[in-house]
Amino acid sequence: MKKALEKFKSLKLVRIMGFNRVVLIGVIILLCLLFQVLSAVLNHGNVFLTYARFSSAMNYGYFIGFLALGVTFVIATGGIDFSIGPVMFCAALVSGYCFNNYSFPMWVALTMCPLIGALFGSVGGFFVAYLHLPSFITSLALMQIAKGVGSIFTKTQNVSWPGSADPGGWYRSLSNLTVGSVNIPTGLIILIVLAIILSIVLNKTRAGRYMICLGANREAVRLSGVDTRRWEMLAYVICGALAGFAAIFYVGCYTTVQPVKGDTFNNEAIAACVMGGTSMAGGLASILGTVIGAFIIAIMQEGILSMGFNIAFQYSLTALILLGAVIADVTSRRRKN
């Protein structure tokens, strides 16, 4: 048994992906089977493994994936960001409102999303990196500001982005493109491309190296003559920009955004990130893990609906998963020490 495990660990693909990531993919498969059985048992013979569920889970996975990718950078520096969900909503509200009411062209509205996110990110990053405020408090404050700005701007009204057939509705094909009778998961392609780029940033550039190292030991990096403030702030800007970018895929999935909401996605994104092997203590990050983690979260959401439970279960369950992931993170660190 032990020998077989060692052999499995030494396979090339497993080595490249990392053992933990392979385990996570196994978890996805197990979850699918589990939900298949439980849906049938608990929900009058309901079937979980359907195309509709699959594509719904994918759609959910896209924006959670972008949120989680962003927050991976912040967590790698040893910080945390609880503002990403509301920042995503704020970006969707403000730019959607501009499209609807001030007839901004769609491409401008779409460009605004990551920029609004980056603006929030730079404010938060400035407070954390230059004024040394705890990221926890800063991001909680920023979360409320994002909610406030979004609802003030839209006069506390829902904002509906155009449907696929409406003028400007082409943005939805960024999530899913239908050519004839073929569906192309463009969202997945964009997510994978971006994940590859971010993985390169994290592992092969100075910025990534500094961010991870300062997450592991800020003082040592500073005393090596590195301006840690700059790189730490950059992590928050990346995080914010990606939260804004996620907005495009949120509306691509749901079209309608409510004001003063969005905080439930914080936990989901952070859980995806920690599950994927990014350490809450900082200094350790995995982009691939984060992406897989995001899809686990998405499958859980669909699974709960498929079993006939209220969606509110998802909130508690995500919180439990987050706790579980953090426990695993802490214990593995303790073992290493």
């Binding site: 100075r206 030991n217 990096v221 005393l223 090596s224």
Partner: protein, 509 residues
């Protein structure tokens, strides 16, 4: 020496890739001070961690008070009466002395803590140890030595029978060490079994009854301290004899240019009006007691802490250093006394640590040039003889001496011209110490200017070309190595500031 209280037999422990303990034997008797010696990485700490339940052993037996035991965590060991007094003190600075000692087991009435009783208990403990500390004092107001005494009091309050001292004197002054020894002798007389881990040969001779030596995870042997010489012990530790001789004259070339000039440096209470010069190829020793402001001076100079005033000149040109980044760009490097906190990134590998200060030179376009980075790292691993299975090894898996070499490598890669070594051999074994001394001499010879802060008198006298002595945040004197003696340095290091001032006034008048 009384009966055997603790026996460890055939203790074996393997970590991935390292056979940390290879069937090690060790015993402690009641009423003895038993030194545990060995180079860093020899397995002393691992052995003690196995004993106190931090690590689980792979095989072997531990017999304590006649019964075979196995502790699963430090708490169980503590409850049984085996306590470690750590090198790094585990005290909460904002609590009082008594609160620290009784943390987690305060005497209570219902929900409330009985402060008076707690303080009285603490006072009793201190009386037992003949120490004069007020239990109501806030911990952070005490000196390191006094804090350590509180740790000892805490250990005794746990009804310890075996007390392990892990490098207890690393941060103490000579007088404080004497006080500590009085306490240890007293504990010995009372029948405690004491394990004493230290690298300082003089102390071993002075305080211990027996010496057990480990090397590369193996138990080498046990000697009766009285019957052996320093050289015997060192030979067992490293298999070679090392001589420590003081430098007799300055090695700096006649007329070597002044590289660094510091004038009227002020930074907080600990750095007051410090001025000095450093010449090319010189090793300038900074001597003084712990808390004299030497580290603070170095940190202010390096831009790590803000300074209130003072001018810094490099090659005669005034430079403005506001952050470590400015300092590194000006060619200054700083090797901190606290490696783990300020020197290295433990969770990262040797490559990442080696190029941390110079990463901008290891990029190709937007990307890090990994082959170039690896080549530079390998070069310094070879040059410094860093012991590691590979350059992709995480630094936390290296021993203290090798970690220090990684820090040195980082600054050599950077090619700094002015290097500040703050306690360069703290917590480092004899063999690696020797290598670091040789390295510093080579660096000086090659034209680097070195500031060496050290609390070890032998180190100061052996390495320095010139010595600056500090006391309570002020520079109290400067000696050429030819005229320096331990006594002269000590006098300057303990010089009372008021006395000095009045003397200056007399001279003025």
């Amino acid at each position: 020496m009384g009966e055997v209280i603790l026996t460890m037999k055939g203790i074996d422990k393997t970590f991935p890739g390292v056979h940390a303990l290879d069937h090690v034997d060790f015993e402690v008797r009641k009423g003895e001070v038993h030194a545990l010696m060995g180079e860093n990485g020899a397995g002393k700490s691992t052995l003690m961690k196995v004993l106190t339940g931090i690590y689980t052993k792979d095989s072997g037996t531990i017999t304590y008070e006649g019964r075979e035991v196995e502790f699963h965590n430090p708490r169980e060991a503590q409850a049984a009466g085996i306590v470690i007094v750590h090198q790094e003190l585990n005290m909460m600075g904002h609590l009082t002395v008594a609160q620290n000692i009784f943390i987690g087991r305060e005497p209570r009435r219902g929900l409330f803590i009985k402060d008076a009783e707690m303080n009285a208990e603490a006072r009793k403990l201190f009386a037992q140890l003949n120490i004069d500390i007020d239990p109501r004092e806030t911990m952070s107001n005490l000196t390191v030595a006094k804090q350590q005494m509180c740790e000892i009091a805490k250990a005794i309050s746990h009804e310890a029978k075996v007390i392990i001292f892990d490098e207890p004197t690393a941060a103490l002054t000579d007088t404080e060490i004497e006080q500590l020894f009085v306490i240890i002798r007293d504990l010995r007389a009372k029948g405690y079994g004491i394990v004493y881990i230290s690298h300082r040969m003089d102390e071993i001779k002075k305080i211990t009854d027996r010496v057990s030596v480990m090397r590369d995870g193996q138990y080498i042997g046990t000697l009766i301290t009285e019957e052996c010489t320093k050289e015997d012990i060192i030979n067992m530790m490293v298999g070679r004899v090392i001589y420590e001789e003081p430098k007799t004259h300055s090695m700096v070339e006649e007329g070597a240019p002044v590289v660094l000039k510091v004038e009227h440096l002020n930074a907080g209470r600990m750095v007051q009006d410090v001025s000095f010069e450093l010449r090319k190829g010189e090793i300038l020793g900074f001597a003084g007691l712990v808390g004299a402001g030497r580290t603070e001076t170095a940190r202010a100079l390096f831009g790590a802490d803000p300074k209130q005033g003072g001018d810094i000149y490099i090659d005669g040109k005034k430079v403005d250093i506001r952050s470590p980044k400015d300092a590194v760009e000006a060619g200054i490097s700083y090797l901190s006394e606290d490696r783990k906190r300020f020197g290295i990134v433990l969770k990262k590998n040797i490559i990442e640590n080696s190029t941390l200060a110079t990463l901008q030179e290891y990029v190709k376009g937007p990307f890090i040039d990994k082959p170039k980075e690896a080549k530079a790292t390998q070069k310094y691993v070879d040059l410094l003889k860093t012991k590691t299975p590979g350059i992709d090894q995480l630094v936390m898996n290296l021993s203290g001496g090798n970690q220090q070499k990684v820090v040195i490598a980082k600054w050599l890669v950077n090619d700094s011209r002015i290097m500040i070594f703050d306690e360069p051999t703290r917590g480092i074994d004899v063999g690696a110490k020797q290598e670091i001394y040789e390295l510093m001499n080579q660096l000086a010879k090659s034209g680097k200017a070195i500031i060496m802060i050290s609390s070890e008198m032998t180190e100061i006298l052996r390495m320095s070309d010139r010595i600056v002595v500090m006391c309570e945040g002020r520079k109290t004197g400067e000696l050429d190595i030819a005229e320096a003696t331990q006594e002269k340095i000590m006098t300057l290091a303990t010089r009372d500031i008021d006395m000095q001032n009045s003397k200056a006034m007399e001279e003025g008048a």
